[in-house]
């Protein structure tokens, strides 16, 4: 059955502000994840440049033989991306949903400082549920 491996949130300046592993094979350490984040940030930017016609907003789906990477960038420049089993559907919706959770439990948390790493218990909880829910809905289909 399809699985979500991990979730990343990158702030507008390419810093990794959230990383959660949902049981991927090799959980990477902080440095790696940070590096990877900024790398992705750049790639995403480059990809926009690559586009032959203007008005491209960067990579949304990156498919590899072992995983899919779905990326969603909010208009405010925050990037959310999930790494999941190849062909896991409904990832856009999941990302949108996560975005909403982000606004509710991160941005509305007065203790959260903008652009800083996210440490919000409630966010984690609701994320876990969201991912769960996603599974359930998949099974349903």
């Amino acid at each position: 059955m399809a699985a979500i491996y991990s979730l990343y949130i990158i702030n507008k300046s390419g810093g990794l502000i959230f990383y959660k592993d949902y049981g991927s094979a090799g959980r990477m350490d902080t440095n790696d994840s940070l590096r990877l984040a900024s790398l992705w940030h750049s790639m995403h930017a480059i990809s926009q440049q690559l586009s032959p016609i203007s008005g491209c907003f960067g990579i949304e789906l990156l498919q590899a033989d072992t995983f899919d990477l779905h990326c969603f960038q909010s208009l405010t420049g925050t990037k959310f991306f999930v790494v999941c089993e190849p062909g896991t559907p409904h990832m856009e919706n999941l990302l949108k949903h996560i975005y909403e959770l982000y606004t509710d439990y991160v941005l509305k948390n007065p203790f959260y400082e903008m652009e800083m790493p996210i440490r919000c218990e409630l966010f984690d909880i609701s994320l876990a549920q969201a991912v769960q829910k996603e599974r359930v809905s998949l099974l349903g289909r």
Partner: protein
């Protein structure tokens, strides 16, 4: 990805959690009053309100984008329109109208006939010069800045000062392009 069709302000407003307006109105009133007491100079209060508004806008814009799935606006005109029709509605439950576009479409006015902030409010003579609703201008400025539009927001008309409507002038200073962090790669 294909942007979901932007919902109308009313639909969104119906969907979000809501509270009695008077709680909001009175709370804001109390804040203003307290600020005046503490800062003493009206100008300071205006500044503070604008600052608070800015801070709010910076965070609120994301909620706005997330919940009203508005897609990327092609230009400032469209942005202004979305703010007026969707943004104001979604949060304040009232819609604004956009007018007074200048030639090159970088300056316009948001007109509010109805404004929950000022229910019950009457400015005392000692507080002339106070932009009671200055928090709104801050919010707009902050929100737009997050979608990389530097703006200058000023009050042109204020019902508390006897005008017939609230007029908020939004002036687009510059549109900051997303900068590409190549240097990170080297």
């Amino acid at each position: 990805m294909a942007p979901a069709a932007p919902k109308s302000g009313d639909v969104i407003f119906a969907s979000v959690d809501r509270v009695n307006a008077e709680l909001f109105t009175l709370t804001y009133g109390a804040i203003v009053r307290q600020l005046i007491t503490d800062l003493e100079e009206v100008e300071e209060v205006n500044k503070q309100l604008d600052q608070m508004g800015y801070n709010i806008g910076v965070r609120l814009v994301d909620e706005f984008l997330a919940k009203s799935s508005v897609s990327r606006c092609v230009d400032f005109r469209e942005t202004a329109d979305v703010i007026a029709k969707v943004g104001f509605k979604m949060f304040l439950g009232v819609t604004a109208s956009v007018t007074n576009w200048d030639a090159d479409g970088t300056t316009c006015s948001l007109i509010l006939e109805d404004n929950p902030l000022v229910d019950f409010v009457e400015l005392p003579d000692t507080c002339q010069g106070l932009h009671y609703c200055n928090i709104l201008s801050g919010v707009v400025r902050g929100a737009l800045e997050m979608v990389s539009m530097k703006t200058e927001v000023t009050w042109l008309r204020d019902m508390l000062r006897g005008d017939d409507v609230f007029e908020l002038q939004v002036k687009l200073l510059k549109q900051v392009p997303e900068e590409y962090p190549y240097k990170d790669d080297e």
